[in-house]
């Protein structure tokens, strides 16, 4: 019983079936090296704005060390209701339509688990955030990936969705602005997808964590369209736009029936999100526009820089319109994404994430995060240029 083989045999089959994350493998390799310039980081390089950190300290001084209601602090839910209404035009009732979670990661998990029956199919688009596929499997559902393509700007089209939908399809998961491609959707794209969801009676789980970080046009949420609030779970959080990843603050907005179901799981597994993080988030919402505008202006300059640099070196890459990633096509060099990334690390000490970490169709791509100081990006670009010249 004590040997590791027999222990492994005791692990649930569906957990065993999920491969180790490609990002973790790569992380181990990069961590063992010094002086690496990393473009592999999926979190802001900014520190949380000072007034938010101060609010957290003040809350601690005041003795805010208890549980909160399972749903989260009402003052925070009220602030979120105002903030979300301003973005989307949709009013959520803070009493029963908003649930505070531990990051959007938890909210995603709750949403999928609350809705899923064994064998239900979930449509999602790849390349995508690393957790979508495993979360569906943990919930005993069947993930069905729709591959998005660079020539389409990594947009999701109705035609591609129609090809994959079956009578077992229950859920459509969306993530725009997208990690890892930097793609965004225009209103017309979103309208097509909404019509599709209505036609097939799907629930939409939309992860809009990057919606404040768009550089050429404002984000348009699917929940804003008529008939969509009733069938949408809108997910958002504080990690990206406020640089608050370590606070682990996310939330879900949805009709009361769905929030109630998600809350049931949340109350028994998580109880509530940490109170200090909730207090800090109340403060974050007070100066949302100012905080976000400053960081966004900086990301935009980096986006411009990294994209112009790739163009200069002849590396095909969609001009990222949102989030903070550039997804460059390196297929012409005859290496797999992973080989390319390893060789680049080895020869030039620049870390990027192989596209395959975000789904099989990420093969041939690398993800370069520009949530990294411009000085480092400026150092990394000539290194990448030198590297591909020699390939």
């Amino acid at each position: 019983m004590s040997d590791s083989k027999s222990l492994r045999s005791r692990i649930s089959q569906h957990v065993r079936d999920i491969p180790r994350s490609g990002i973790r493998d790569f992380f181990d390799i990069v961590s063992s090296r010094d002086d690496v310039i990393s473009l592999g980081i999926g979190e802001p390089d900014f520190v949380t704005p000072w007034h938010i950190r101060e609010a957290a300290m003040l809350a601690l001084e005041r003795g805010a060390t208890s549980y909160t209601s399972n749903m989260g602090l009402l003052a925070l839910r009220r602030g979120i209701a105002r903030y979300v209404e301003k973005k989307t035009g949709i009013a959520y009732n803070p009493e029963d339509e908003i649930l505070i979670t531990v990051g959007v990661s938890e909210a995603l998990d709750l949403a999928v688990r609350a809705l899923m029956e064994p064998g239900d199919e979930v449509l999602y688009h790849e390349p995508c955030y690393v957790s979508y596929n495993p979360l569906i499997i943990f919930a005993r559902g069947t993930p069905v990936a729709v591959e998005t393509k660079m020539e389409n700007g990594f947009r999701l089209t109705r035609a591609e969705l129609e090809e994959k939908v079956t009578p077992q399809t229950r859920i459509l998961m969306l993530n725009y602005p997208n990690n890892p491609t930097g793609a965004t959707l225009a209103r017309a794209d979103v309208e097509e997808i909404a019509a599709f969801a209505i036609a097939h009676d799907l629930i939409v789980i939309t992860d809009e964590i990057y919606d404040d970080l768009t550089y050429d046009r404002d984000h348009f949420s699917i929940v804003s369209l008529p008939g969509m609030k009733e069938r949408t779970i809108y997910l958002h959080g504080f990690s990206k736009a406020w640089a608050m990843t370590g606070f682990r603050m996310g939330y879900a907005c949805a009709p009361p029936e769905l929030i109630e179901a998600m809350m049931k799981i949340h109350q028994y597994t998580m109880l509530c999100a940490p109170i200090l993080s909730q207090e800090a988030s109340i403060e974050a919402l007070r100066y949302a526009e100012r905080d976000i505008a400053e960081m966004k202006a900086e990301y935009k300059r980096r986006r411009n820089f990294i994209h112009a640099s790739f163009q200069e070196m002849g590396l095909p890459c969609l001009r990222p319109e949102g989030a903070f990633y550039a997804f460059a096509d390196v297929s012409r060099y005859g290496l797999t994404s992973k080989e390319f990334a390893l060789k680049l690390l080895d020869e030039q000490n620049v870390a990027v994430v192989p596209g395959t970490a975000f789904g099989a169709c990420g093969e041939g791509f690398i993800r370069c995060s520009y949530a990294t100081a411009l000085d480092e990006i400026k150092e990394a670009m000539p290194r990448i240029a030198r590297f591909i010249e020699k390939l």
Partner: protein, 159 residues
């Protein structure tokens, strides 16, 4: 503020090529705008922000509050300009509140700085009183934090 100016304020030594890429404009455009700013006096100078604590011999910085009687013609301007002509004076500001002008001066020693106040400043006509403060330590200058304890490091790779 204009984006090009804010880039220059962050790092005046950045190349026009890099700034052009950041702003999504041409290198020529960057160069001609900078030339315009220089010619029109929007950009007055380019200077290094020095952490004087790291130097073997650091200068003494004095902050002086000055009360003056404004002139019937020209108000505070002429006296402020006169004070500003002393090479030891780094900055002169007109302030609201209990005094009129705020000066930042630099000297080799505290003695030298005190000498400037008693011999040159306090004896000027129109100057009615001065209050001199010696700066002990600079924690942040021109938006740059001079020294800080170890910063927290992020994971090198994350999803």
């Amino acid at each position: 503020m204009n984006e090009l100016l804010s880039l220059l304020k962050q790092n005046a030594r950045e190349t026009p090529e890099n700034m052009a890429k950041e702003l999504g404009i041409s290198v020529e455009e960057v160069k001609s705008k900078i030339a315009e700013y220089e010619a029109s006096g929007v950009i007055r100078a380019y200077q290094a922000v020095v952490n004087e604590e790291k130097l073997d011999h650091s200068l003494v910085t004095t902050v002086i509050e000055v009360k003056v009687i404004p002139e019937s013609e020209g108000g505070f301007d002429r006296i402020a300009e006169r004070i500003g002509r002393f090479p030891e004076v780094e900055s002169v500001y007109l302030m609201s509140g209990t005094f009129d002008l705020l000066l930042f001066t630099k000297g080799q020693t505290m003695h030298e700085a005190a000498g400037f106040v008693s011999a040159k400043l306090a004896t000027m006509p129109n100057v009615t009183s001065t209050a001199t403060h010696f700066m002990l330590k600079a924690y942040k200058r021109n938006g740059i934090i001079m020294q800080s304890g170890g910063e927290h490091e992020r994971l090198k790779i994350s999803p």
